[in-house]
Symmetry: C2
Subunit: 505 residues, 2 copies
């Protein structure tokens, strides 16, 4: 006879297996699948996802959870609590609405691609309108403390509220806009030497070497090519990365690889006791993004890091970089320049791209902004925050796929991750005073060990807020990020305004 705990684990294991299979099929779709596989693959994924959803919302699971709720070991208690929340959310949204969302986003994705090609927002507008309506229905089905956006945000960033995001973003904006203005008035550093053709294989090999040094475990992972970089986990023992290569701009693949390795090390670091349960995942998208940003920016774009790796890079690419000074290289990879495209933005301007999207989708959901007025609102916002007005919608409101996927409440997590990364790294510098020296020696083990202990191993057992408070003694706030930006970029540019003190949330 199985214990209640074991029976629950067996049941959840089947769901985990279906989800892992779906993730493997998606990985294959983005990496190796031939074009002829497309139609059947969509059906296979739909079948797997539907079966996982059916198991998650079956009353049998409710009963298993109720029975296991009396278990007194802390892991089972966490498992029951987190799974109960997943089950509730899944049961709250009617199947018809789930299907309408899937249908609506499949059509919207297609319309979005065409609208982008032809630069005609109007053809995408009715699809966005439909997805907003469906998202409002979804928010009503899920319920919320204060406003519909809370319900959607909570899917991606459990426990986070619209009010907190708005507060944190207000202090961020107040400091960043003048910083960007001050930088925009100054000459941009020369980065022509970054725009030289380097072989794809050599670029990938360098990225592989570095992320293996950082601590990404290739015996439990891979690095492949895909159009859009991502990381994905099929189990704690199989966490994969993809990257893309721009032949004549090495930072694209390099920082992309380090970024995804940050995500990957998070998943590789989860306690193995959580494998095949809903706890074996990042605790929120924001926390996930904090891990990628921490490795990409706080480590990968630091002086200490390149004091170790620039000689290696020069050795690998002597023709292209043999004559470049390390300081010039450091300045080039940290060039700040207000740009139109979010995914190409530097770390100073990046949060402003995200804030604009948050404000717009929040207003759209609350119907204080009409879909028809969105392009103009976008362009005006870009001018306000970054001093640049997109000449086309393709380079403006149509650049991201998220809204076409029906994802409202997702964007803020990118900026929350950026803030969490800075807050964690500030604490790391406090807890590990030698961390910079370690990085300069290519020794990342103490840093990774800190992250494993404080963040990774917990999986979803604790929320992002709980982990942050335990690790740093404070809730999410913007001050560490603003201090980091001021210190780093104040050394690269003249006369940056002092960051305002931002209170903890």
């Amino acid at each position: 006879m199985e214990t209640p705990d074991a029976a629950l684990r067996t049941y959840l294991g089947r769901i985990a297996d279906l989800n892992a299979a779906a993730a493997t099929l998606e990985w294959d779709q983005e990496t190796y699948m031939p074009p002829g596989g497309q139609a059947a693959r969509a059906q296979q994924l739909s079948t797997l996802r539907a079966m996982a959803h059916d198991l998650l919302t079956d009353h049998a699971l409710v009963e298993l959870l109720d029975t296991a709720a009396s278990a007194d070991d802390p892991l089972t208690a966490d498992l029951v609590r987190v799974t109960q929340r997943d089950v509730e959310k899944a049961r709250q949204v009617p199947t018809t609405l789930v299907q309408e969302m899937a249908q609506g986003s499949a059509e919207a994705k297609e319309a979005w691609r065409k609208a982008r090609e032809t630069d005609t927002f109007a053809t995408f507008a009715p699809h966005l309108q439909r997805l907003l309506d469906l998202n409002r229905q979804k928010a009503e089905a899920l319920g919320y403390p204060d406003e519909p956006y809370d319900a959607l945000l909570d899917i991606y960033e459990p426990g986070m509220t619209t009010a907190t995001v708005a507060d944190v973003f207000t202090s961020l904006r107040a400091a960043l806009v003048p910083t960007v203005e001050a930088i925009a008035d100054q000459p941009t550093p020369d980065d022509a030497f970054l725009h030289q053709p380097l072989s794809e294989d050599a670029q990938l090999a360098f990225g592989r070497t570095v992320v293996e040094d950082l601590g990404y475990d290739f015996s439990r992972g891979r690095l492949d090519l895909s159009t859009h970089p991502f990381s994905t986990a099929f189990s704690i023992g199989d966490v994969r990365l993809t990257t893309r290569v721009a032949e004549d701009f090495f930072p694209t693949s390099f920082f992309g690889t380090v970024h995804e390795a940050g995500h990957g090390m998070y998943e590789q670091g989860i306690d193995e006791a959580l494998d095949r349960t809903p706890l074996a995942d990042g605790t929120s998208l924001g926390m996930h993004e904090s891990q990628s940003r921490l490795w990409e920016n706080h480590v990968g774009r630091s002086r200490a890091f390149w004091s170790h790796y620039f000689p290696v890079l020069q050795q690998r690419f002597p023709d292209a970089l043999g004559g470049t000074a390390r300081d010039a290289f450091y300045r080039a990879i940290n060039k700040v320049e207000p740009s139109l495209i979010r995914v190409e933005a530097d770390e100073v301007t990046y949060p402003l791209h995200v804030m604009l999207r948050f404000e717009l989708e929040h207003a759209l959901l609350n119907e204080t902004l009409a879909v028809a007025d969105l392009p103009e609102a976008w362009n005006a916002g870009m001018e306000d925050y970054l001093g640049r007005r997109p000449p086309t919608d393709r380079e403006g409101v149509l650049q991201d796929i998220h809204w076409a996927l029906g994802a409202i409440g997702y964007f803020p997590t990118y900026a929350l991750g950026t803030l969490m990364a800075a807050q964690l790294f500030q604490q790391i510098e406090h807890d590990l005073p030698d961390v910079e020296a370690h990085i300069a020696n290519g020794d990342f083990a103490p840093l990774l060990e800190w992250l494993r202990t404080k963040i990774h191993r917990w999986g979803r057992r604790r929320t992002a807020q709980e982990l942050l408070e335990d690790a740093t003694g404070a809730g999410l706030h913007a001050a560490p990020f603003l201090h980091y930006i001021h210190a780093k970029y104040g050394a690269l540019y003249d006369d940056l305004p002092a960051p305002e003190a931002a209170p903890a949330a």
Copy 2:
């Protein structure tokens, strides 16, 4: 309201999706999965297979089949008939037996690997004994016309009987053993030039070029590396091949790739109307093998083929093959030499390896041979048929994985495929008198079209016997193969005995 036909299709589509997902996970396991993924992958596969099995044996499907049985279109009638047979077979074998087989073969596989390493058959023997017992139980559960082996053979080669196999093999043996003896007395052709190191990439590229010429469609497939070559289909639009490369023996990857492409073209040629149903598969393992053997041997090892490709090969590998004469090359790739290892055997000796395995597993199942006596029976058989006695069990009875997987009744299909290939090719030469000239011109379209029309498109709608009879006017018989061998190898070796006439089965 769905029609009975559509409801059945929807139900079967979900099973097909689960099986396709499992096949994708298995492909990944053999090609790209990191070692850390092993344990979780085994669980994922077990979950997917169990869910597919549950759906296949659910009473709901029996009812759907009964309702759809009244449909009067021929495709639905075939679908119902073939699926009913699958369902019956699946329902006849008790779940506990399925689980015991899975458990038993997992343990036997492990024991087999160790027994091979240490060359100690005795440690594998109890596992084989257990699997034989389970196979006897399985045969009893399935039922059989004449003897237990019939039930097992029928799984892999529907409609084939032990008596027919024994008959056909008897005439085959009578002709092949003296042929092999006659050849073994003559000097072997020099093939030293085949044993030169050639780069892996260049070998793969040549294989890719050729199989694309043959008609394997890369927009609906791929070629990757794996330890053991295989082909697998996730849908008619996604049929993949793998191969392996021996750096210093080019035939390994080349003929391996052509062989797998033969399998792959079969699956790519199935009528698209059958996709996502149980009909979208090869009709039997023998017929599947006939397609790989036909392309590998009747096409790929023919004079006509190399009159087109040898200049291409020389151009690709001028250092290694620039000085070799085409005729010497043709003789080298058709060298006949009795060897110990089945998978390395030439096309003359190959069927003898298979016949030995058939006789032994047949005797083991019927308990006329004891497991303890198997190694000696193996060695004696090898001496009888091929004049060679394995010095170790590793090169003898422990060389193949099939018995460790619990597969009894599988081996004969390799030789049946060889015979079917010859029988089909004889008919092709009759129906397409210019086929040799087409091959010599690198034009494979008429040949592929013939195979598509007569064999591929049917999927499992007709049995192998029905397809053979429709295509060639006769049931399976050994004469075409023996004539082919006599004609081809009589031109390469002196004084081969004439093939005996073998009656059709």
